[in-house]
Amino acid sequence: MIRRLVILLALVVLAAPLAAQSPPLEVPYRLFRLANGLTVILHRDTSVPVVGVDVWYHVGSANEKPGRTGFAHLFEHLMFEGSKHVKEGEFDTLLEGAGGNNNGSTTNDRTNYVIDVPKNALELALFLESDRMGYLLDTMSPERVNGQRDVVKNERRQSYENRPYGQASIELDKMLWPANHPYNWPTIGYMEDLTAASYEDVVEFFKKYYAPNNASLSIAGDIDLDATQKLVEKWFSDIPGGKPVEPIAPPAAILTGVKKQTLTDRVQLPRVYLAWLTPRVFAPGDAALDMASSVLTGGKNSRLYKRLVYDTQIAQDVNAVQASGAIGSSFQIVATARPGHTVDELQKAIDEELARLRREPPDAREVQRAINQMEASFYRRMERVGGFGGKADQLNSYFVAGGGPDYFAEDLARYTSLSPSDVQAAIIDWLPPDRRVELVVLPEGKK
């Protein structure tokens, strides 16, 4: 009894925000731009003798042409295959020999490349990054395109075709976005488009999108800022700038009613996907929908988890996410039925919980709990300099989004300023029952 009392008291005191008791959330940086248009962001963090070198090209699958879906990602693979002064295979061999790691990733909106090296190999990383930015086409060949085409087709088989429910996310985007909207097709691409991609496409794509003026370079870690700036100027200044890239002008995406579809798959349990079109990243409503996803499925006490998985146990899992994009977002709720239960049962329970949140806002504690978790997650994101989601990558991400590289505190403030009625309003405004996509995946032979 006594222990409980003491703790309740402590929790009341805790209502003060974490920021009041913690150092400020800031990442000091230096930003400069080369004459060829390359933006460079530097941040010093000496906790380990490691440097993260992170390049964003401002091109993703949303820039693709019909008939060439998946091309931005296929192109990403080709960036590791060598350039004029780096023989095929050497990119990885040189980095591994120096104790480095590297990777790349492609989304709808951007393509990023990460190289993490011990600090003595920073210049090697800059040599490799600059050579593929400036001289990729010099040694490009149809054979190289063919080689990575096969790899990417196997990536598609592994991550989508041979994975349970793997086709659902592709189908969901097709239903959510109009056919001429660039979020309609999958980043991995359609198999026939991967087959059609040509060497000529590679040349055209590189010239159009891979110029320094369409890229940003972020370096975080155990660096000297002046010396690093000189190294960047040395390796990147001779790369010619390209023509400005026109921003994407997407057609309007609006759902006017409920779109339904049923797929079958080689699975044993039915799954339901409910999805809505929602405000793009950083637009009003985006953060409130993040909080709504937490109120719905973040933790055992969340509305949907507690009802579907904890109490009634009609679902094996339930997840909600605001999937934020640069030109639009979607909010998705996904639930898998337990054996003996149906997606109709799941959907009815989900709709009842959404209706309840439209009628009355979540409790203050539910929202504060979600805010406290979000706040702690911002500090967790301060630990690593390199890799996907490290500080170099985050500085680049905020820069590209337009708020400036050190947008951490402002981003967090989007969440800490929310009230329960803001979360309620977002659910009313953006998750209506009569304008959404309902996709069901049923076990084969049970349709």
């Binding site: 222990r3 805790l14 974490l18 913690s22 930003l31 400069f32 731009r33 080369l34 004459a35 060829n36 963090d45 380990v48 003798p49 490691v50 295979g89 591994e96 020999g97 120096a98 104790g99 993490d116 011990p118 600090k119 003595n120 210049e123 090697l124 040599f127 050579d131 063919n146 096969d150 790899v151 196997n154 990536e155 088989r157 592994q158 075709e161 041979n162 994975r163 100027e233 040395k234 200044s237 001779d238 044993q268 349990l269 933790g299 055992k300 006490n301 507690k306 904890y310 146990q313 337990r338 504690r365 504060q368 709990r369 406290n372 978790q373 702690a376 500090y379 967790r380 708020g403 400036g404």
Partner: protein, 488 residues
């Protein structure tokens, strides 16, 4: 605010500053004829481990890391799935998973609410060798979160309703695993290599049958027998000073006493395979075949640890490894291929693996064996050096975040590594010779005796696999893989 407006302003100022620099750059185009020389590699100064002990002799290890205002607190208990009693496979795993489903005076939901409200993350989990309660919490909330963690670790209540819920969740997860070739292949492989009688032949989670049989008293007994201060260590890493935290740890963990005189025993050694066998698990219409090839590997205590790290890096432990270069870069059969020695207290499995496109399954199998056999020939010096440098020079990056540090400390505890182990790691890797790699290759890579498991579309892949004549072929079903019997 319109973000593009503010950005445009900044761009103008910067262009002005940079113009001069760019001119200099153009006059001195860099020499790209060879990669820049590397300076001397940095050494990693590991922060010291400050070892203390509570009045009940519970060891407490502290490492200070003041970069970010967070703390990682792990209670590691040296008992895991390897200590499951015969016929009760899955007990350690379910016991660990149940710790935060009711503890002290709090219910499952109350624990989750309290932890999340503090912005903390709490995980209760286990491996074959150990169980752990791990908490990551903002340092300002540590004092409030620790009592909850102590309840979870020391005073779990194992409520029947929550046990039934978790049991059903796990049984359902096993049903779902049957849908996924990537989940079927490790289960089939370890069953083939270890059989039903050895603990490593069944997933840590157990089976449908054992899961259905567990009672709350089984879990309580396992917790009483295995979770003891004498075989546990508290690891605290982060933005703290040991002396400031110790009094609270003493208060919360210092009166913990052994509830039982029982002690976890060792896992029996596994019998090694003596002749090759190929198991084809039929997964109709699978567009890729999941392949896993290998046998019983080595325990973590192997004296061959460092040569094996280098060997595996060359074979399948890095992007430029032979398996990945062959199956991905050269042939394009796979998105990726690799290999691994899964080292545990007893000998865990060694395996090479990949998902390959169905119509190239036989060709891929042949390439796997070409590369495995190739490891028995002398390794070129350049390749050996690249692998050693990769492992040695990337080592500092494994100590960046507080959960990196704490997981390395757990490794020290569970495998009883000496205090200077990580300080000497890099020089131990650099000391590996070509002869040493050759010697461990001859011992641990014996492809003729390896088990081969392929999960794929039997109808389309079987004829070409048979034509390879790799080993006797057994065709089994997915249900067989998840069943109680040996695979025949």
């Amino acid at each position: 605010m319109n973000p593009s407006t503010s950005l445009g302003t900044r761009k103008l100022c910067l262009l002005f500053v940079i113009a001069a620099v760019a001119t200099v750059g153009a006059q001195n185009a860099p020499d790209r004829s060879h990669p820049p020389q590397l300076g001397p590699a940095p050494t990693l100064d590991l922060p010291p481990i400050q070892k203390r002990m509570l009045s009940n002799r519970l060891a407490v290890w502290f490492v200070e890391s003041h970069e970010v205002p967070l703390v990682q607190v792990n209670l590691v208990v040296q008992a895991g799935s390897g200590n499951d009693p015969a016929g009760k496979y899955g007990l350690a795993s379910l016991t660990a998973a149940m710790l935060d489903e009711g503890a002290g005076s709090r219910s499952s939901l109350q624990i989750a609410d309290a932890i999340e409200f503090l912005g903390a993350e709490l995980a209760t989990t286990s491996s074959f060798d150990a169980s752990a309660v791990r908490m990551n919490v903002p340092v300002a909330r540590l004092q409030d979160a620790l009592p909850i963690m102590a309840d979870v670790a020391l005073r779990p209540t194992f409520p029947q309703a929550d046990l039934d819920r978790l049991r059903q969740e796990r049984i359902t997860a096993l049903i779902q695993a049957k849908d996924d070739p990537a989940q079927i292949v490790p289960i089939a492989f370890t069953r083939v290599v270890y059989g039903t009688m050895h603990r490593y032949g069944t997933p840590a989670m157990g089976s449908d049958t054992t899961l259905k049989a567990f009672t709350a008293s089984d879990l309580k007994q396992f917790h009483a027998d295995m979770y003891q201060p004498a075989n546990s260590t508290l690891i605290v890493v982060g933005d703290i000073k040991p002396d400031a935290v110790l009094p609270q740890l003493e208060k919360l963990f210092g009166s913990w006493s052994a509830a039982s005189a029982s002690r976890p025993g060792p896992v029996a050694p596994a019998r090694q395979l003596t002749q090759g066998q190929l198991y084809l698990v039929d997964k109709p219409e699978a567009p890729q075949s999941q392949i896993r090839i290998g046998w019983v590997g080595v325990p973590r205590s192997t004296p061959d640890y460092f040569p094996l790290q280098v060997l595996n890096t060359i074979l399948g432990g890095s992007f430029t490894s032979r398996l990945n270069q062959n199956l991905r870069e050269e042939h394009g059969y796979a998105y990726g291929a690799g290999s691994r020695f899964d080292m545990r207290l007893s000998s865990g499995p060694f395996f090479a693996s990949a998902g390959v496109q169905a119509d190239k399954t036989a060709e891929a199998l042949q390439e796997f064996f070409n590369e495995l056999n190739g490891m028995l020939k002398p390794i070129p010096a350049e390749e050996l050096n690249k692998a050693k440098n990769y492992v040695a020079l990337s080592f500092p990056s494994e100590f960046e975040a507080i959960d990196d540090l704490s997981s390395h400390l757990e490794e020290m505890v569970v495998y009883k590594l000496p205090d200077d182990y990580f300080e000497r790691y890099v020089s131990n890797i650099q000391a590996v010779t070509a002869d040493a790699v050759q010697k461990v290759a001859a011992t641990y890579i014996q492809p003729k005796k390896f088990a081969i498991v392929v999960v794929g579309d039997r109808k389309s892949i079987e004829p070409k696999i048979r034509a390879l004549n790799l080993a006797p072929i057994h065709v089994v079903s997915v249900e067989d893989v998840f069943g109680q019997r040996e695979l025949q």
